[in-house]
């Protein structure tokens, strides 16, 4: 369950303050897979960051009683000059996985992302596909109630996408996902509810097909 109460979020740009959301209130029912759709720059990623607690609203509160992953995005929450292994270790330590648990997670990510010996190269030498594979695999190594996935699955090749979908189906038995995607087929396959972000407003569609129709219109 998520509840947004009077949330206002703005960014200070060199040309002045730009509001993404103004006095936004809504409640998202529990136990649903949430799809975020909208045009580029509508505020999907901002909303996701707010839900994940990675960014803070100017005013208002966001309430949830679930554990939520970090936003898993294309750029990945990585320090570019450190190796893949060190980045994975870092996240493990942040989330309290030490010792054998940490080694287990490193093995999992290495195998899932199929990066082999690249794991000891600095992240900044990775291709965008490799980076998003590591980012996605890393989030899958941890158990959350909600996974925040921002476009990650759309960059991989066909084989990787299949792998993602497989592990995702496994995870979705016990967890939920908040998915940002421009691929409507992915949204309709994975999500139960659609949030259309448009002009600083959010429309909730309980029916996914209807939401996609409203977006395409």
């Amino acid at each position: 369950m998520f509840e947004l109460r009077n949330v206002t979020k703005s960014y200070l740009t060199p040309k002045g303050r730009r509001y993404v959301f103004r006095n936004l209130s809504l409640a998202i029912p529990p136990g649903k897979n949430i799809g975020l759709i909208g045009r580029n720059g509508a505020g999907k990623s901002t909303l996701m960051r707010l839900l994940g607690g990675a960014d803070v609203p100017d005013s208002g509160t966001i309430v949830t009683d679930r554990s939520i992953s970090w936003p898993v995005g294309l750029t990945g929450g990585f320090q570019g000059s450190m190796s893949g292994r060190d980045n994975i270790k870092f996240v493990c330590r942040v989330y309290g996985a030490e010792g054998e648990a940490m080694r287990e997670k490193i093995r999992f990510v290495q195998e899932f992302a199929e990066i082999g010996t690249w794991i000891d190269e600095p992240i900044k030498t990775y291709s965008s596909g490799m980076r998003s594979r590591v980012a996605f695999g890393l989030s899958m190594a941890f158990d959350f109630d909600y996974y925040l996935i921002d476009e990650v699955m759309s960059v991989g090749d066909a084989q990787f996408k299949r792998k993602c979908r497989k592990i995702f189906r496994e995870k979705l038995k016990t967890s939920n996902v908040v998915l940002v995607s421009h691929s409507m087929s992915e949204i309709s396959k994975l999500c139960d509810i659609v949030l259309l972000v448009k002009d600083g407003e959010i429309e909730i569609y309980e029916d996914v097909i209807e939401g996609i129709k409203a977006y395409s219109a």
Partner: protein, 233 residues
């Protein structure tokens, strides 16, 4: 290459200034060899300078890590200070062992006070760096100016010559600079016969540090939401 430069930079400074100084004035200052004299003051000064300047970049360098909600900008500042202190400590130890092996007397006269002053200086550099980081986050164009200001600071902080050699008429103004106090105090604690100039006080540095720390933490508290939002700085 970057790792080698960390070691080479202070050694280059040492060599150049030792050479210049011995040509102009002679080999010793207050009873110690000039390279020892410079090293003792220069190593902490470089540490403090690097700490203060590097904090300005730590937000930009670690921006992607703020996606994890557990990590706050303050963590990156503290981590940077620890990294800088470890690197400087290691380089200093290496040079000291090198000097001792060469035959210089590298003993420290008052090690406890010396360590305390070093720690105080690091706290001062941390506060200063945080203030600078918060200022340049709001006004990024000031970064270059601040870097330039640190260059003359090298010469008026008594790093290369004892503070007693600085112009006496300007002393009241020069003594406003906490770096001068720190280098003098550190020299006084390491070298047994070093005469500090009048007006050097650890109380001044402590007071300055506490005020600056208060300002930096206060403005950090006020600005913390701006610091993590991705669209800024």
């Amino acid at each position: 290459m970057g790792a080698v430069w960390i070691l080479i930079e202070p050694i280059c400074h040492l060599l150049i200034f030792s050479l210049l100084y011995t040509m102009i004035r002679g080999r010793t200052i207050s009873g110690v060899e000039y390279p020892v004299f410079v090293l003792v003051g220069m190593a902490p000064f470089l540490l403090y300078r690097n700490t203060a300047l590097r904090l300005m970049d730590s937000l930009r360098e670690n921006r992607s890590l703020f996606g994890y909600k557990q990590i706050k900008p303050l963590d990156t500042y503290i981590a940077r200070v620890i990294v800088e202190a470890c690197i400087s400590g290691l380089v200093y130890a290496l040079i000291v062992f090198g000097f001792a092996w060469w035959g210089f007397d590298m003993s420290i006269n008052n090690p406890l006070m010396w360590f305390m002053t070093l720690t105080l200086g690091l706290l001062f550099a941390f506060s200063l760096g945080m203030v600078l980081a918060l200022i340049t986050h709001a006004l990024p164009s000031l970064k270059l100016v601040i870097r330039m200001v640190f260059f003359p600071l090298y010469f008026i902080s008594g790093v290369l010559i004892p503070a007693a050699y600085l112009p006496h008429a300007l002393m009241p103004i020069l003594l406003l600079n906490p770096f001068l106090h720190l280098t003098e105090l550190i020299r006084g604690e390491v070298l047994p016969h070093y005469a500090m100039v009048d007006g050097i006080s650890i109380g001044y540095v402590t007071g300055f540090t506490l005020v600056l720390l208060f300002i930096s933490l206060g403005s950090y508290r006020a600005r913390r939401l701006h610091l993590i939002s991705t669209k800024n700085g």
